[in-house]
């Protein structure tokens, strides 16, 4: 079954359209979601059965134990498989309609995985399945859809499944959409952590990947009762942004336009517009609103004509709104602090410093040449991780981590999501007290104390 985003959908099933697809079909009926369609998990099942992939995958699982090996073998197997011709015909027809709409604005397309167990209120699988961008042809579309299917067996996703006891993947839908080019991308939580009174927006120039993957962001805290009451925290170092490169056909890190580097990425009018739309969306999900809230995690952006688009909506994963009152520890030296707090708590332990994260891949550079894969075996009782930003692969390396201190990204980044789902203390957008890089001041193995309550998080020495 293929469902068009924006078509009337009185009800939608996650089993059929996956988490992302379901949510986009739902909100696409009433709100501005880039046009597109969702290929349901029925097509995945037919593809799977027609190509006898069950036997192939079982053999791979028997022969290989390392998730990385399973991933590469699964990708090969899916790439060799063929779609039944009737499914191909429907996909080609839908692509034609989509490209007719895209022709007016020269939009490329995005092909996004939508696993049937992702984007729920418990398991987000944030960033662990694949997304592809480009001007699609019939053949590249089929190729990308197959790669999305295969991404159910991505090593990071398999590790996540193993750890969350989710079993093997049973279905994958795929979302194919026109991709809008954003002047500013944003992520919104319709209720800030521990605080139903305020919603929180993190925004950065360019695609919303800039926010999610942890580029420096501006943060806006908006009171939902008095929408003029906004606390803004503007990052003056937004030097690079993610943007679609038409020639290379992919998202690329490029310099931020000068007028955005140290200025707010959203105007007050844009903040008001976002607030209005996201609260409308939340009210549909909150049965009994306003008494009962159902905070939503939304992504979107403003295109170059100033139109607001929503590209993702889901329940906030693993967020706690009932945190105990925690008294912050008394520290002799505070070396960094922030109000951007995820989970609360106090922890004393050794520090691990990531100095650089490869934005295009999966590598982390650790201070003193440490290897990220060895952290869990080296620090068996716990450690504090200090990192500028993250990518989704981080989650699979930090089983023993107790606290994450992010110096650039905030709670809406992958680092924030990882911390929430794992119940780790999280302090984002941490500023060093003397404006020197926190990473430079700390050394591997230093024993530090981290404390976070509802209002504030600190890191320092006892």
């Amino acid at each position: 079954m293929i469902a068009r985003i924006g078509s009337p959908m009185p009800y939608v099933s996650r089993q059929l359209f996956g988490g992302k697809g379901k949510n986009l079909l739902e909100i696409g009926e009433e709100f501005s979601v880039p046009e597109g369609f969702v290929v349901s998990s029925e097509e995945y099942v037919k593809f799977f059965l027609t190509n006898n992939l069950r036997g192939v995958i079982q053999q791979i699982l028997r022969d290989h134990k390392a998730p990385e090996d399973i991933e590469s073998r699964a990708k090969e197997a899916f790439a060799q498989a063929r779609f039944p011709s009737n499914i191909e015909d429907v996909l080609f027809r839908e692509l034609e309609i989509l490209q007719e709409q895209a022709a007016k604005t020269n939009d490329p397309q995005a092909v996004r995985s939508s696993a049937i167990d992702e984007d729920g209120s418990i398991n987000s699988f944030a960033g662990q399945h694949d997304t592809f961008f480009g001007k699609l042809t019939e053949q590249t579309m089929l190729e990308y859809v197959k790669l999305c299917y295969a991404s159910a067996f991505n090593s990071v996703a398999l590790k996540y499944r193993e750890e969350h006891k989710l079993g093997i993947p049973t279905g994958m839908a795929v979302v194919i959409q026109n991709m809008k080019e954003f002047e500013t991308g944003f992520v919104v939580y319709t209720a800030a952590p521990f605080d139903y009174e305020n919603l929180i927006i993190e925004a950065a120039p360019g695609h919303c990947k800039s926010v999610v993957d942890g580029r420096p962001v501006d943060s806006f805290r908006v009171n939902i009762r008095d929408k003029n009451k906004i606390i803004s925290k503007i990052n003056k170092n937004k030097s690079m942004q993610w943007q679609y490169d038409h020639q290379e056909g992919k998202l690329k890190l490029v310099p931020t336009p000068s007028h955005f580097v140290d200025k707010p990425s959203l105007s007050p009018e844009q903040i008001a517009k976002i607030t209005e739309v996201v609260l409308d969306i939340e009210s549909c999900y909150a049965l009994g609103f306003p008494k009962d809230r159902k905070p939503q995690d939304l992504e979107g952006g403003f295109d170059y004509k100033g139109k607001l688009w929503i590209t993702q909506s889901r329940d906030i994963t693993g967020m706690s709104y009932k945190a105990p009152d925690i008294v912050l520890p008394k520290l002799t030296t505070i070396i960094g602090q922030s109000q951007n707090v995820g989970n609360t708590g106090v922890y004393d332990g050794p520090i691990v410093v990531i100095t650089d994260v490869d934005p295009n891949g999966t590598t982390f550079t650790l201070k003193d040449g440490q290897e990220i894969r060895s952290l869990d075996s080296k620090f068996t009782t716990g450690y504090v991780l200090v990192t500028p930003e993250t990518n989704p692969t981080l989650d699979s390396y930090i089983k023993n981590c107790k606290a994450i201190i992010a110096t650039e990204c905030g709670i809406m980044s992958h680092a924030g999501a990882t911390a929430r789902e794992r119940g780790l203390i999280f302090i984002g957008c941490v500023e060093s007290t003397d404006h020197k890089q926190l990473q430079d001041k700390l050394d591997h193995g230093d024993i530090v104390c981290v404390g976070a309550n509802k209002e504030k998080g600190v890191i320092g020495y006892r």
Binding site: P8, V12, E29, V45, L49, T170, D280, C284, L287
Partner: protein, 346 residues
């Protein structure tokens, strides 16, 4: 005087109870939301319909237009003491609400504990049979059937979220009813409407894939709004003949918005429906074919094969996830039920 009310047969009750989801596996929040979602049609929507229809006729005569009870609320002892099975149907909703443009019928089946539900008869003829309550009680389990389609807990929530979204948004305005009316009149006159308008009609399930009027569109027809309870019961009594033998339905029988009996019979014979629904151990392919025909049957005639023949196969489809079904080459003839049992390790 006859009424629109049919008491459930033993088999029908078993069919309804057999479809009830196991809510004990739901987390606390989801269960609380489901309770609100199931009560949404029974309480909120019900009140809206009653306020809209209050001036359409005397008390006790108006609710044939949109609401009727499906059973006498009562005995659901399989769910514990003081548990009641409650069934109510809302039909032809797209006549009243722009936000329900693509929704003809909603059927609610729910089990409530410690509530006080009864079958309400408001006039001397025993008409206006709706389920009323002096206290709803606590939801034990329940499901909705929307446009003949069974909705599990998650889809039920999706449906109610969608209704809230449409109520607050501009769904009714976007789907300008006059535009739809104009497009339909063009079709009737044999003129060719714009492609995007035809697509819109199909998106709203108002026409089937061949461009013919669907049950959902026929439900909007004002002539059916004027039908009385007697007719509604009469149509259904006729349709129930299909359960034993489609030939028992006469070509000139009146089945109201369900369409033309000749076409219904043709659909049955062309697709060998009786053979299909009487299959004891359906293969995956048969279930797939059945699901497709079930949807087509609703779109064209306003009833589903599941409801008509008390078949619960579609529930099995969700179990037929790829890892649970062995590859077709290994056991092409093995039944789906067998595959499910095998997959579950039983």
């Amino acid at each position: 005087m006859a009424t629109s009310f049919h008491e459930l047969t033993k088999e029908e009750k078993a069919h309804v109870v057999g479809k009830m989801p196991d809510t004990t596996k739901l987390d606390k929040n989801t269960k609380a939301e489901l309770e609100k979602a199931i009560k949404y049609p029974l309480v909120d929507l019900d009140a809206k319909i009653r306020s809209l229809t209050i001036n359409m006729g005397d008390c006790g005569q108006n609710h044939y237009f949109a609401v009727r009870a499906l059973n006498t609320p009562g005995d659901a002892t399989e769910y514990g003491k003081k548990a009641q099975l409650v069934g109510q149907q809302y039909f032809g909703l797209n006549r009243f609400f722009p936000e329900f443009l693509d929704i003809a019928d909603i059927e609610v089946w729910a089990v409530f504990q410690n509530g006080n539900w009864d079958l309400h008869t408001w006039n001397q003829h025993g008409e206006h049979l709706v389920c009323n309550f002096s206290g709803t009680g606590k939801l034990v389990t329940g499901y909705l059937n929307v446009n003949g389609q069974y909705l599990g807990p998650e889809e039920t929530l999706s449906f109610v979220h969608g209704m809230r979204r449409r109520e607050n948004g501009n769904f009714g305005r976007v789907n300008d009813q006059r535009m739809l009316q104009y497009t339909l009149s063009q079709l009737e006159k044999g003129q060719q409407p714009l492609e995007r308008r035809l697509r819109r009609l199909q998106d709203l399930r108002m026409t089937d894939s061949t461009g013919k009027q669907s049950y959902i569109l026929r439900c909007k027809d004002p002539k059916y709004a004027k039908m009385e309870a007697l007719d509604r019961k009469k149509w259904e009594t006729k349709l129930r003949l299909l359960r034993k033998n489609p030939d028992d339905l006469a070509d000139n029988d009146d089945v109201g918005p369900h369409g033309d009996p000749k076409e219904i019979k043709k659909f049955y014979f062309d697709n060998k429906i009786m053979d299909l629904v009487n299959t004891k151990n359906p293969s995956y392919d048969k279930v797939e074919c059945y699901v497709k025909l079930d949807r087509e049957c609703f779109t064209r005639f306003g009833f589903t094969l599941s409801q008509m023949h008390l078949v619960n196969w579609p529930q099995l489809v969700s179990y037929a996830a790829i890892y649970e079904a062995p590859p077709a080459v290994e056991s092409p003839n093995k039944s789906l039920i067998g595959r499910v049992i095998q997959a579950l390790g039983a």
